[in-house]
């Protein structure tokens, strides 16, 4: 995973901001800060962790199979490429 950039900030809208941890998925970074995220498969095929990406860019480490809308991402199999802002519905 080409995911070593340090110092990226993840903002969860109306909740908190936290640092992205290099070499972790977005979901793992959120969990490391005790943010409760609903998940099942953690491999991108169930879509349980689906959230909206409001700002910034992410890259997928595996091709997500679950349905994601144009403005949505699956935190379980992606990592940020820039500072990002996300929102859980």
């Amino acid at each position: 995973m080409a995911n070593t950039k340090a110092g990226l900030v993840i903002s969860v809208k109306e909740v908190t901001s936290l640092p992205h941890q290099p070499d972790k998925t977005l979901l793992q970074s959120l969990e490391a800060q005790n943010i409760e995220v609903h998940y099942h498969c953690r491999e991108g095929y169930c879509g349980a962790c689906r959230c909206r990406l409001l700002k910034g860019q992410v890259e997928y480490s595996v091709d997500p199979l679950a349905y994601v809308d144009d403005d949505e991402i699956l935190p379980c199999c992606c990592h940020p490429l820039s500072d990002i802002e996300i929102e859980f519905s």
Binding site: H38, H40, C41, Y45, A66, Y67
Partner: protein, 376 residues
Amino acid sequence: MKYTTFNQQNNDALKEPMFFGAPVNVARYDQQKHNIFEKLIEKQISFFWRPEEVDVSKDRIDFQKLSDSEKHIFISNLKYQTLLDSVQGRSPNIAFLPIVSLPELETWVETWSFFETIHSRSYTHILRNLFADPSAIFEDIVVNDEIKRRAADISKYYDDLIFATQLWQTRGEGIYDIEGETHTITMRELKKKLYLCMHSVNALEAIRFYVSFACTFAFAERELMEGNSKIIRLIARDENLHLTSTQHIINLWAKGKDDPEMAEVAAECHDEALAIFTYAVEQEKQWADYLFKQGSMIGLNKDILCQYVEFIANQRMSAIGLGQPYAVKSNPLPWMNNYLNSDNVQVAPQESEISSYLVGQIDSEVSADDFGDFDL
């Protein structure tokens, strides 16, 4: 339009809609209109498993130790799951294959249904282990009122679509009187029936299994019926993939990325689709009530289970544009995630009862006595 097993017309499947276009001819997968179905086929095949790989022999001892109310919960859930997979093992094939127009979707439907038959076979595997003769359990499935009511509701939309398709394929569009009932067959009506059927299947895959899953995993949390829980974990993993496929189909229609007429049908039938889902939620809650009427089990009761159904329903409904109608915001059964996580499905063989790693195995039991005549 008459069904043909090999459409002689030279058609470009890339220009066909998912359903009700030209029948499929060449089963080719080098190009796809919707490549998601090809990816789902590959993922599903990579999940292949056989019920016999999971050793359920310890469950028999656990089962004897369960209270009567717990036995009722365990067996009733198995009956319900058997019903669901009986339907799903055949219905997608019979309902969707005659009208499908994309080779990758056709193969996905066949792959999907095939895996449901593995699930059905695994219920027999579980029950055969628990009872010398499981006939009484299977026979009750068509007699038990609680299960029958659900069966009627699940098969209704399938049967409707299948019958209308048969009329259309044998007689074409028109109005037909059959056994005192009038049937109007138009392409629009067929598409409506297909749309509602897909929503009914989506609701089935999305929530109908989850009350039973929660009970199974609640037993496993107490280290009971663990062989059964391993099988259900494999089943849950497959069902998640099936759900992904129905969500894709529904969203492709709704967003106008497939058949433009289906986008109109989606808008027109929004309320009916919502009603199908919310009714399934109500039925699941009633099922929880039926399960716990003889007493609850440790770690789970009717209220928590109903909240979990609503929580899951919110997630599933928002994925197909039906909003989040229920008030539950956080997961009332957080440990469920551990069982539904695919990392935890493939357990280390030495730590579990999975015996598939033993090639030509005879006896998996090793006791200290076996080393009695061992000298170093």
